[in-house]
Symmetry: C2
Subunit: 379 residues, 2 copies
């Protein structure tokens, strides 16, 4: 095997060059689980700041965009570093800004978000393990190609099947259709969202029923977020995705066993499609949607013109839906208009469940929303 | 839905900023399928050059690393551009170099390669459709977590199951264990390699038997490419992965129905493990391995000290193996020493099948090697 050592030498050198960010860390720093290749940085301090450090001996200017733009500082040895303000726990997208271009950091995993492959850091939340891989029976995320007559193209989805799906061949399962936010795709809930791990843990604890979760690509249209785009999404789900899933998986095929939920743009899609088709779904989850307004001073949301009858004849939805669920991060600017909308729904007699979680317009409240919503449905 | 249009306005603006690279293309340019977000660039010319163009009004220097380093040129309107030399067809990793740092290009898909998330371009090969998604029955790639006692950690693998796996519940399948190269991981064959599409097309045409393909993470050790690392890999496969797969999937559990193959480092792993454990495998595929030497003037490969008996008592392997297959790209520097090794194997009476394909040390010959090897095994 000595030859193999030799012949791989060049490759090793290349890997070392890539691993240039890795080094012995001061004891007060903890590398983040979202780092790749055993990079030491980014690392979190005991008081929740994140230290970024990278080698760029020829650089003139290196910036970090983590919601706030930070100028990184050159050290003597060719490294550039910055220590951020204390950060919220959980998952944050971020970028390096080099030559004025926002790019992914080679030290971290990249995730499809912000309309491109972006860096992410995932700051662990002490004492919270519902989205941590544990020694419980594990389901599977399956990658599927299907042809859509609606879009006239091959499209891709991820499908979570619960533990035991392959052996319980006489069992049918309920299905949750779960939608990502704007600038994301079907990788969002499968990777950033940790859907498989959250469901595995809930099912193992008996807190959620075994279910299939369909994680589709909600970007069915090139039309942005217009009525047309929403309607194309609705048709893609109803005419392409649901028939495909129910033909290929052992899914129940009635409304009682279908739920739809999503975050941000996907929350709007779940709201639009779920409330327009209450004959198809028994549960709707709307996480952090900007639908109701994006700030405390947003104009009042006009639910009745959006979904005629929703406030004047809410019985239709109360009867059809077992769960109409709305959630939002507590520091998300959408929280106040969302709360007001919930209030008006309730005043009109529309049954709605509401919850909120610490955090902004980010993946931590969305993981918690999924964790919460999944426990409420199909029961 | 008007509110939703409004509330998504900011998001749309953000997406537009990301889509800044996209614009009307001159008719002689074709955008690459590896572009994301409908970006027009990178685009390929009729004579096989690639045009890169990105907006960076504040930049002082922008470079492109596509094997060769190119200086990009500033245009008047804040765009930077470069037209490369004619490129080989198929998949190439590349980077932008900004402030001296190699980073992924936001205009393209990123892939785990070169020890980090790197950009890739995939230049279509006219008239070749074996790795193109087609209207045939599709298998599934499944994402699986398993706990390894060998590494003492949770690890991840992708598993291709052929069309019909879920419904043919009395059927067992042969299994190919398929390994990525150095600086890559289990995403390599699942994404860059297009394993599912290649197998779907082969199976539909009756050119390969339906099989399970296990796409594991070969980086089982932190020890690089030493004997120890090879042995850790071998133990991880034999003690963790094979028992996991055969416990969870409807796989045959005999050597006749197990194959192992891989590219570059993974080719070395397939060679090392397959030849040391001929009682476990009936087919070995070694694609573009540097094992035999990395250039025409490399010292002769000492097969006998690597695998004692291989040249002096080849009957053991001839009897155990239905297929011992070696391949290499025709412009890969490894081609000459590989051919010499094959010659010596044959002189010693060791039965070996050899093939080569246009291209260098890249994914196009690896896709073709998989396509070729899969047709030769389990028959």
């Amino acid at each position: 095997m000595k030859k193999l050592i030799l012949v791989c030498g060049v490759l090793l050198l290349a890997l070392c060059a890539q691993a240039q960010f890795s080094m012995q860390l001061p004891s007060e720093l903890t590398p983040l689980p979202s780092n790749i290749n055993k990079n030491g940085y980014p690392a979190v301090t005991e008081d929740g700041r994140v230290v970024f450090r990278l080698r760029a001996p020829g650089a003139e200017k290196v910036q970090l965009d983590l919601g706030r733009l930070y100028d990184m500082t050159r050290e003597e040895n060719g490294f550039w570093t910055v220590t951020t303000d204390p950060q919220e726990l959980g998952f944050h997208y971020y970028s390096l800004v080099l030559e004025g271009i926002s790019v992914a950091d080679p030290a971290s995993e990249s995730y499809y978000g912000m309309g491109r492959m972006a860096s992410g850091i995932d700051i662990p939340e002490p004492g919270v393990d519902f989205y941590t891989l544990q020694d419980v029976p594990h389901g599977t995320i399956r990658s599927e190609w299907y042809y859509s007559e609606v879009t006239g193209s091959w499209r891709h989805m991820n499908v979570y099947t619960p533990p035991g799906y392959d052996t319980a061949t006489d069992t049918r399962y309920p299905v949750m259709y779960l939608w990502h936010g704007g600038g994301e795709d079907e990788r969002g809930w499968a990777v950033q969202g940790r859907t498989d791990i959250i469901l595995d843990n809930l099912i193992a604890a008996g807190q959620a029923v075994p279910m299939i979760v369909v994680i589709g690509n909600g970007n069915a249209s090139t039309g942005g977020y217009t009525d047309d785009a929403m309607e194309t999404f609705r048709r893609e789900l109803v005419e392409s995705i649901i028939p495909y899933v129910e033909g290929r998986y052992r899914a129940y095929t009635d409304a009682k066993h279908r739920a739809i939920s999503g975050l941000s743009m996907g929350g709007g899609q779940a709201y639009y499609t779920g409330l327009r088709n209450p004959e198809l779904f028994s549960a709707i989850g709307v996480y952090s949607s900007g639908l109701f307004g994006r700030s405390a001073d947003a104009p009042a949301y006009d639910a009745e013109s959006e979904i005629p009858g929703l406030l004047t004849a809410p019985e239709r939805w109360n009867e059809a839906l077992d769960v109409f669920y709305i959630s939002c991060g507590q520091t998300d600017p959408r929280i106040e208009p969302t709360k007001k909308a919930v209030e008006r729904f309730r005043e009109a007699g529309l049954e709605v469940q509401f919850n909120s979680f610490p955090g902004g317009h980010e993946w931590l409240p969305w993981r918690k929303s999924l964790h919460d919503f999944a426990q409420r449905i199909f029961k």
